[in-house]
Symmetry: none
Subunit: 224 residues, 2 copies
């Protein structure tokens, strides 16, 4: 789950410090020392989060964000500010910002807040059940039942089966599975998928009579 984060901060060393720490956490970052060029970026690229200094020379950070909101950019924002007066905090929130931190701030806290915001904005928790032949996958309780019998799955196995069932009749290649089940950023060997699939096969069909998961040689796997 790599996110693209844009940081606007005029003090270069702080900017670098933030970028360094966020990249260490696996985020993609782009830093600016002024709002110049940032507007265009926000409009054209899919930016997941904006970290914005309130006290930029020239433009007020919150003013800038307000303008962005005006043209339909709804990227969530974390404001940074040297001040911590109550009035400032309220103003920041009123203008549609999502979070607020005062300098000097704890880098750990910043990362936590970032993760919280990303999670919140990306939440489209679809709950319900997915069914395929005699397999039922309960997305709420994360339970698998086959012919009425419950089978324990690990998180990885569950997610993998979920992806397969959601795309039944479509052959999914290893890259697709790696990206969707494992998460885009990490790098794995391709045998990883292989082994995981076979562990899953073993669990849902120990005596290999059902052939739920079909191997498509040279391509990937499918449920059909």
């Amino acid at each position: 789950m790599s996110a693209f984060i844009v940081i606007v901060e005029d003090e270069e060393d702080i900017l670098e410090l933030i970028e360094y720490n966020l990249e260490k956490e696996g985020f993609d970052t782009m830093g600016f020392t002024s709002t110049k060029n940032v507007a265009q970026l926000l409009e054209e690229e899919s930016v997941d989060l904006l970290i914005m200094d309130r006290n930029l020379p020239g433009v007020e950070g919150s003013e800038f964000v307000a303008q962005m909101r005006g043209i339909g950019v709804d990227t969530p924002v974390i404001y940074l500010s040297a001040k911590n007066k109550e009035s400032d905090i309220e103003e920041g929130f009123d203008r549609g910002g999502d979070d607020y931190m005062t300098k000097p701030f704890n880098m750990k806290e910043l990362v936590l807040r970032i993760k919280a915001i990303l999670k919140r904005t990306k939440k489209d928790k679809t709950e319900g059940k997915v069914i395929y032949r005699d397999i039922t996958l309960d997305l709420g309780s994360r339970e698998l039942s086959i012919e009425g019998n419950n089978i324990e799955l690990t998180k990885l196995e569950f997610d993998l089966l979920h992806t397969l069932i959601s795309n039944q009749n479509i052959v999914l290649d290893r890259d697709y599975l790696l990206e969707h089940v494992w998460g885009g950023d990490a790098i794995y060997q391709d045998r990883t998928v292989n082994v995981a699939i076979n562990r899953l096969k073993e669990k849902i069909d120990p005596d290999k009579s059902k052939e739920y998961i079909k191997t498509v040689r040279g391509v990937g796997y499918t449920l059909c």
Copy 2:
């Protein structure tokens, strides 16, 4: 008979004055200067009374209450208003409010009205009980009984169990629990959930024979 009263009033000194006086009377209070966060609170917590300024900047207090009624929140309300025009009073009542006071008001009178309303609503407060297996959670008295035996829970433990029971058969991840039990804005480590869950487990099932709370590795916890 301690009641939980939420106050929404944008003038900070008045807010503080009210809180001070109500707490002196033994009420639990929570004050807000805007309706932000209040909706969530009303939905999720058992709020006994809402004191609501009619003249908030932005949202109309009575409009806000109407929305709350729309989603099933039936917390009684006392409106505060600087105006005392007849039309306003009527409108206030029409929208389902329970009482109405005009500023400036007498604090003694406010307390009396509060007590009157609480008395009235307490009676028909068939506060629900939540039941799961042999666990009964009395939301009114905030008591837990298991197989008929009362067990003391702290506030945190109670809220946590309440959330779990209300979502039984659904695996709740740590972020969800942090947001709903601890409250959205604060930042905690997720091991916090871990420890809290285990303290709760210890209390409700000391000899680990019942397995009420199930750990779903890599995801969260569930009652199933």
